[in-house]
Amino acid sequence: MSGRLAFLRASEQEIAIKICWKNYHSPDSVEAAIELLNHYDGRAQVIGGGTDLLLEIQQGLRPPVEAMIDPARIAGLDRIILDDGHIVIGCTVTHSRIIEDERIIQHGTCLAESCGVIGGPQVRNVGTLAGNVAHALPAGDGTIGLLALDGEVEVADVSGSRWMPLQDAFLGPGKSAIDHHRALLTRLRFKPTGVLEGSAFFRVMRPQGVALPMIAMAARLQLDEQHHISSARISIGPAGPVPHLAEAAMEVLVHGPASREQFREASEAAVSGVSLRSSKYRATREYREEMIRSQLPDVLARASERAVNGSLAGLTEPQGAWQ
């Protein structure tokens, strides 16, 4: 939950019993969905699982809408497929489906790990990765996982549909570049990890009443035959207004050996390359720095181990965040 709630007067929050939408549409094609959005001219909104969206409306963080447009019945968007060298995830695919998909577990491990710690099972059974991305939180778990995999999103609106890099979907905390009153995020995709490639995700969560991670990080590494790093991607959040790509750390790694020392150096670079902040009741800047310093080397080591062993070294059962 974002911080705005704190500034609302108690009485305002508490009057939560209100109608969040009047009409509920489940169109059966992308075109029909776009047409409906157009018809409502800004008074309708796309709903994924609704697990964040509906709460935000009820708690007064977003205005109610006249209509919800639910893509759940659009054929094909409920699938995970291999297409054109990508793993493609439809927008109605839930977190639960992702964490059980063998292809994603094998070739997008950090995404399976990150979706596995979102909410609880009831939320993961309904919530979607597309919704997580659309929510545009700086540390959405699924988003951090997908960013490390160099994910892309497909957006459809009246002008047609197009793919764009995941980073371009974020404008600020909770602010998406995709206008959910006019456009539909239809699919997400990433290139599966191949030979000598691996990925890993880690986050630190408080046991107290904070719904978002203290810090989350993911990495994707590719090694060459000599086990030197040929490419690296590291994502961290929250580390700024949008999900953060730790470019300084990535640079340190490329062409270097996949060694503990190198990972530590990269983590130092990650710390100096970000502007971490303290957020009330969630984490101090110092703690977040310490987590990157002490935990990112482990994340990198795990990704590298997976690259070498071509297996799921260190993969726990879909975690359900009970660590």
């Binding site: 009485s11 759940a72 939320v123 046991p207 107290q208 009741y281 975690q319 359900g320 009970w322």
Partner: protein, 969 residues
Amino acid sequence: MSRLQLTVNGQAVDLDVPESRYLSAVLREDLRLTGTKIGCNEAECGICTVLVDGTPVNSCIYPAFKARGAHVETIESLSRGEKLHPLQQAFLDHGAVQCGICTPGLIMTAKALLDTKNSRNEAVTTDAIKIALKDSYCRCTGYQSVIHAIQQAAGQDVPPYIPKTRSPGLAVGQARPNPDALAKITGRARFSDDYHFPGMLHARTLRAGRPHARIRSIDTKAACALPGVHAVLTHEDVPGRNLHGLVTVDWPVLCADKVRYTGDAVAIVAADSEEIASQALELICVDYEELPAVSDAIEALDPQSPVLHEGRPDGNLLKHIKVVKGDIETGFAEADIVVDRSYRTPSTEHMFLEPECAIGIPAGYNPANYGGPCDPAAARGETAIHDKTSIYVGSQIPYLDRDQVAASLGVEPDSIRVVATLMGGGFGGKEDVAGQIHVALLAEASQHPVKMLYSRQESLLFHPKRHATLIRIRTGATREGKLTAVQATLYGDGGAYASLSDKVLTRATTHASGPYDVPHVKVDCFAVYTNNVPCGAFRGFGVSQSCFAVESNMDILAEQLGLDALEFRRMNALDVGSVTCTGQVMRESVGLNECINKIDEDMRSDAFHWTWEEGTSRFAWGLAVGYKNTGLGGGAPDKASAEVEIRLDEQNEPRAEVRTSSAEMGQGLPAVLAACATEELGIPLRHVNVLLGDTDYCPDGGPTTASRQTFVSGNAARLAAGAVVQKLTPTAAELLACEPADVLFDQGIFTQAQAEAGGQTKSLAEVVRRAAEAGTQARASYEYWAPKTQPLGTGGDMHFAFGFCAQAVLCEVEMGTGKVHVRKVIAAHDVGRAINPLTLEGQIEGGIVMCMGYALTEHFIQEQAEPWSTVMSRYKMPSIKHTPEIISHIVEDATSTGPYGAKGVGELPSIPTSAAITNAIYRATGVRVMSLPVDQDELLMAMRSGAAEVEMGWGDQSPIPAVTLGGEA
């Protein structure tokens, strides 16, 4: 309105409903499948879980039209006739059902897990259970029994965990499920919100939304004019006393001149629907003059601070509570070593999973007049005629509700009736009046039944919390390890109204030297009014707070003295002959040493180490002991009445009913009362019914608080049963042709004392029948008075019994992140006598896990008297993933006045766990936590910097302020 077609529990359903509906509303309101419960409306607690096409979802935020065409399964579908689903049977067997409000959600979530694992031929591991139920909360059980039950249902050989206790009698000492558990596992159990009276309106409350302000005017014209609104009431419409309160009557029913906290009630509305009532609230105009607020207990005592209750001679000081024993100067002069520290404990929230709900029925209500069926023979419920103004509510104190409603309506208590519904958890949070007076006023004003259901968010804002405290404590001991002196000063933040602050903080004060024999004690406690949410009763009742300080100091002392932590406590433990800090001589039933010995043996059974490393974690054991009074004590008259009646059923078998207005909130009182009746009457448990809390049918059991009901109502039931036997004895004598004095009664059989073996006997049934023929009803009441106690400061027995306990906790601290996990708890509790070991174990496990939350997760945060913890997602209680292995030892050091020797246990388990955890953290890391709950961020940074103490708990906004010992405020 639109057509919604779906399949519910195998039946096709075709409804015409608004598209804005949630699935939970379709199930509960349109289909009246009220087995699915609502706990938060924010996808947080999971008690609303149903299966949509086999997948668990939170129905409270699932749009109904998302489920179009789907197969929906609810708890009502699980049992087929009498045949229970294996999960239901297992929850029953393992005592995994307490208040029952979360049970449907737990069972449905578990069902999906078992179905999935079965279809994949995978094992149901403990990890898998913890993952699947991670967001399915239960506030009562502590989850160990839930895990075991699911394992049993999965076909594993996991018997119910029942601690070893003394050999049982006919019923006392036998492990049995609570009698109401069957209704709770099938979804038939009805809580207040599950009642739908014909003609019922829905009510809402306008709350202040500001911590301190003067009311200039209230304008309700626009709200009254809104179509669908039946009544809008303000302070001007309260015909009687516009105040309520359990000890001090200072809490406005509806604020007239001033509001003193954000949750204060200003106006109430009854309308055709909750939505209309909500709209009406927005149309009420209140003109406020904002006043400065005070949110800190020490600051509130500053003469410059704003005063909440003008005209009080002591300003914001609610009470200065004092305990003095011996001479404190002498005590410290005798000490070789003195430890002096300050601690802080947070305000916490009960988070019972059923938000408050009350229904008011106007006097003379006949459902037929509102188009509903009427059954003139019905005693209560939707079809009954209600002669009196009646309130249906799940409340801890039905009779005091009745009296307070009567006072505000300006009528005699006898003209009000309170009918207790099942209660979805209480833990002390349902003692103060919530909507009871409001619905009575609205029902009479509108002449309709009126339901007032609080949202979770409103519940958080409104009801009294656990007192936040600041405690400075100075403990002195000799080099040999004998305690010589304890001096402490406590500040307790009572919030805006008195509630039970006086009593709670008195308990914190009188327990502030711990369960130890300390010759010299001086404790000062300041109970203070602030503009925070009021604080009142919460399981542990002040002792949870002081125990954290006492037991932390004890650990520091043990280390400085170079003594074993257990041995040091044993050397000073209260025993028979000891004198408490209030001057009470302990004459019997002091099982503390036995508790310490039990955990000592168990903990050190294998190759024992206090601490070790594994990977990047450190493991360590921590200890704490505790004690808690049973009963009100302090000179308060403490009594309970019960009525027992025996009737013959169609098979001529005797059946008994025990009636008392004591409250069941999941703690298992019906099982205890039934056991007492069976023990006395010899009627099998299954033939004993317990009727609780209908003030027209059940005598007063007094408040359900202070761990007192097993003791007082248990005694009342036992003695009322005995009185029935007494009443039947002349009839038995007549049938046996002997003198009444020669009649013996045992296990349901009357015999003649002088009879030879094989002589004449008469069964209870025969005697009851004969008595009925002669016009004697087999019914008797008994008013049981607990042993007299003395007020604080007068010496003597302040309490008639104490429970004792010792707990050892194994913690893991992740050295990389500062995360703390509780892995194992070894507990020993002296309960006098285990009347029902199964429900007793439920109290122990649930209490321990609740206290884990106190140590690690829970803080009701307020900023300048404005709550920050306004939604459930901002207040996390322990979930199943936090559940440690709990090993439970029962000590039965009987108290002579308790029923079969029993003392109270409700609060005891949730007293020492927090200190045991922080003591373990210290052993693992060398860092001592001075403020709860533990903040892993602060802890890790302290470990990194080498700091010895952490002063900031999670949610704290400043370091612990300096506290001056003793003296005046």
